[in-house]
Symmetry: D2
Subunit: 386 residues, 4 copies
């Protein structure tokens, strides 16, 4: 048996994110053997008993619950991982903090800044370790981008741009609410802004500093959809698409776009940053590659480099296979688990934490407000993301 310290996890929610997180917990011990802590899958919680039981069996959770409040009362739980629809984040996170549990919360932190603020206050008052699953930071190529930027190779930054394009909601018969809670504004808070752009904003402010003000436009292409709660056609409250431009604190211009109506794109999260001396590009579809242009290369052989980020000296990659062999989407969650455990071990923060993610929430909210008012909006971001 292992003589490691145990980090006993309670997972709340068994949807897509419940799966990615569970996989993260299970794999860390095999690939990060040096960590002092190992995650223990103590309990999983969901309202549907048959489903939660099957999930517990499939993923090896020691027990299950159908009421999340009971989970918080259990003494055999160290950390609560929230994978519910967005409208439950605040209530559960605050209660978990009050119960003295560490909290890992799926993004976006909340539906609104007001909700998020309460969560941050509760977490900071309780003084519990916390993190938010903006997992894309921990794709090795994205972490390498951070490393390159921090090294100063880019020089003064002029431009940052990102988009997140999908096409899965091009279908009038798709419902809102219930299983499709992402289509329902009450459950989700917003559409692509909170679901997709929140990722882009988190990465952007981590890589390029705070966003000061935004000017946005949103669109809802299908205006009415059957709501699963009422069974009736109801107005769609979410944004199907959102575009905004903005100023960063460092003087660079930002440009962001997201849509679920961009035919041909499944998960096209791309980012690009242009500095005086060098530029970087990345695309989630080919997540092992980072493109890098260095103006200091000799001019006749200067070009965009396609870096296959699989070498041992690149972030996280000494944990996996050998040069040339790819990792996938799910590894970002494994890395976040490992970094969280390391933070617990060393007493440091695991960014993005709730405070960081509140800043991201501020930008999201300013974006929606700017779109609604057809006017520029200050974001009110207070601290730089780490």
């Amino acid at each position: 048996m292992s003589d490691k310290k145990q980090m006993r996890i309670a997972l709340i929610g068994t949807g897509f994110m419940g799966r990615t997180h569970s996989n993260g917990y299970r794999r860390v011990p095999n690939f990060f053997p040096e960590l002092a802590y190992e995650p223990v899958l103590q309990v999983v919680c969901s309202r549907n008993e048959a489903k939660v039981k099957a999930f517990a069996e499939q993923w090896g959770y020691a027990s299950y619950e159908t009421d999340w409040r009971k989970v918080l009362q259990r003494d055999d739980v160290d950390a609560v991982d929230i994978c519910t629809p967005n409208d439950m984040h605040a209530e559960i996170a605050i209660a978990a903090a009050e119960a003295g549990k560490m909290v890992l919360c799926e993004k976006p932190l909340a539906r609104t800044v007001a909700e998020g603020l309460k969560m941050v206050e509760a977490i900071e008052k309780a003084g519990v370790k916390n993190t938010v699953w903006y997992n894309y930071r921990r794709i090795p190529a994205v972490m390498l981008a951070k490393q390159i930027i921090d090294s100063g190779k880019l020089g003064k930054i002029y431009h940052y741009r990102a988009n997140f394009l999908q096409d899965w909601t091009i279908n009038e018969n798709l419902t809102q609410g219930g299983g499709n809670w992402r289509m329902d504004v009450d459950s989700a808070g917003s559409g692509v802004t909170g679901d997709l752009l929140a990722h882009c904003i988190d990465t952007a402010m981590w890589l390029n500093g705070s966003i000061k003000d935004v000017s946005a436009v949103t669109e809802t292409f299908v205006k009415e959809r059957i709501h699963e709660k009422t069974g009736k056609m109801e107005k769609v409250g979410i944004d199907d698409a959102c575009i905004f431009h903005c100023h960063f604190e460092n003087g660079s211009l930002g440009l962001f776009e997201s849509s679920r109506y961009a035919r041909g794109h499944k998960a096209l999260y791309t980012l690009e940053i242009n500095g005086r001396n060098a530029s970087i590009r990345w695309d989630l579809h080919d997540l092992n590659r980072l493109e890098y242009f260095d103006h200091s290369d000799e001019s006749i052989v200067r070009g965009w480099r396609s870096i296959h980020v699989t070498d041992g000296d690149q972030p996280y990659m000494n944990k996996w296979w050998v040069p040339g062999l790819s990792v996938g989407y799910e590894h970002s969650f494994v890395h976040q688990v490992a970094d969280f455990l390391k933070a617990v071990e060393t007493g440091s923060e695991c960014h993005p934490n709730f405070r960081d993610s509140l800043e991201t929430q501020r930008v999201c909210e300013a974006v929606i407000e700017s779109a609604n008012t057809r006017a520029w909006k200050d974001t009110g971001v207070e601290t730089e993301l780490k």
Copy 2:
């Protein structure tokens, strides 16, 4: 000797565009032998006699002038081609129209809508054949995009996006004015908006219909530069970068960006259009390729197609070589010359004409105004581009 009808050309301006146009005229007879007209390089005009003489010799112009007013008085000229800095477009074009000459004008049509309007009025009053050199329409892959869109393959359009990124002005020592007239707001009218976005807007409105309103931001990264006229540091009046989003008449969202500070990009003009059924992408750097995604393909083998646009049944390509063999940037000008001659032959319009390009000018001006006022701006576009 040829028994073709002659189209005697007077070229005004011997800069970069003077070269591309001259090459266009010279090559048409070899590749479009079926045309009734052939261009004759009658006269070239520029203020510097030594330079214009050398240019005439290099390109085979029969004569040269140093005063453009004299050119307009010549009886042996059928068409005037304006390749001067933007601040001379209106005066020359109006005088040429009044002299009964056909007019080919380099883009953008003018510095302002007011200037452009006068030009359109003069041209239409004179009833002379006219065109504006928005040459990118006539890249075979772009013309193929038009053909695909017109065929209805895309279905309802949700998104149109384009950018035009360069990096050549990342240099504080670059001057404004004189040889660098593109950096001087008085000569150029604007920076990237008129120089680069005008191309994107022309193509966009031709492919996707009129733009209704815009919300823009511009930036001038280097605030002062030596002016060649005064020899002193002067405020830079042009936009180094410009981003805007917009609504098209057809309900789709538009997104445009241009910069001369995007390190690593020389002439990255890309466009993408997403429809309900299919999407299209194109990039000037690899101008022979068109990317096409068709949702009606069988799902397991569905993907973006990289079409190498070099087959004989694709636009213009039966004029050139054999399948697989690329054409380049300059061919877009050859095609525009050929289409202009054909229009003269058949008595039809050669789009974009002055009227079309005035609409593009309206969008450019609305963009600049929106950026200056930090507010949405209606474009006032009146007619669909053809």
Copy 3:
């Protein structure tokens, strides 16, 4: 606790392949919950006790051994998985078969056809379930290629080509033997032919039928290296690079190349097959993508399709995440474990089995002989790979 049937695994060898297989076993229950069997990590074996103990702990093996013969004597083992250097494959596999254990053997099956033949005879005499880890077949995009080919979409095949290029041995100071057993001909049997081309040959004969004859050339760029056993400079017996062309039974021409001296390539395993109607390409570096050209597409929009193989109706992908999200290298092993367990459950074969892999061995041996004799060589392949 699970009520699944247990498949108790004994892993022999704790190197790179020991890790990939262990990961395969651990992940199958989470992603293939429908299987009747679940792997149990019963015992791992390696000569170095400290290392094997640490490995057992990291991967969760219930016990460890340092003598593989003891492993075979244990009653609590159902299947033996051989991850040793190639020179141990035959002895262990034969003994395991005689002990009535199922056998999973890392590729290549053996160093020679003679060795492989004895292994096949032992396995078939014992009648035990067996498979060889030619894992690349089970990359989703490669399995999709198989599916497309089997559907007949390609028509008559004209060409098959594959290469496997690396650059990690461009270093005169690299030793042979010991930890670098792949550099030592006695341990490995051959160089790139058995290590890399064997993969290409397995996939090729599975996709395109048997190879009849071969004409090969090999090269050893660094002729002498320190041998870890003797500590002295010794002649290098392996092939650093190997190229061969061949005839397939179906009349198509084959072309194969492998090298560890191809600067810039880490694991460039590419394959392409050209049929009368359609063609397919794949590259391990971007393993989620399959390129497909279909001549029956309408000519003006015909092009190579870049298929991002992440949709639920593509092979294996309904087990993982959502469309657009990538899997990685390691997933091929998870799939092979799942398919092996399924084969045990249903009483079918898990290809490639020992018999299939003996045919691959024949081609490898013919390749080496052809290179040594500078003459064409018949392969003697007897049965089509499944």
Copy 4:
């Protein structure tokens, strides 16, 4: 009128190559004004009078002939350009040399080494300036590759590989002979070997030195086709596909493949060279790009660079447009004309000349013989290509 020296050209043959050469001659004066010579399109010759007359008119030839012997007798011709089917090269070239004309000969030099040898002897005896149109050398990206290799950046070379893949003969109804002379072995000498691989071999020996020996395989997929001369089904004598591997003098391994049955490829001429320190790749389909991998780049940002070869300090590119703007296939011919004129002006050789191309012929012949005898074949190459 120009005060340049005149180089009066006689073009023999008005097919595809007649067009590319004519375009080359016409464009040089506009883009290479510094040259002392300018080409004059004096006479074009072809057997069909209607066709040759139309060609002369389209391209601006001053006169035409229908008998090539008459052309050689004319005093107003300085240079003879041979664009006929391959079976006429030797006779015309030898007669032209004897008539004291400079000779520009389309590739391949001849059908056989014997023919080529006579041509070289005649040319060298006459002492006339000569060149062979292996135009791909003069694609800017390929010339840049040469420059990089000559700089020593690659270090010791391990591998050279090239292929030239097309698909236009996948059609049983295609005839041989007449207009389809490339399908007829008597007219063409060979199939893909002389038509396509000859290009690859010329570039390869120019970039990487002489090829010593070869081992080849050829295939004729369609065994019989109607012959245009007889109107009957006749055996097809050409190779539809050819693959060979080889040793270069410098110790590197070579690999070449060509086919006209590679569905999906129109003109896929790719080359790659792997050195100890760096590697280079190029693809005719995207001819403005050169890919370059430099192992001396800092490891975490090392990757293949995609160089868009359009900057003024890259070969030939200061003659054309501005950075980022592409040139096409035809420019390679313009460059060869310019280099030929420069060679005449300076009294130097314009490589590849007849002597160089005889060496390429030796390799082609060895390849065919190796394929026919199923044995390695020495090439007998005597001198390094320049």
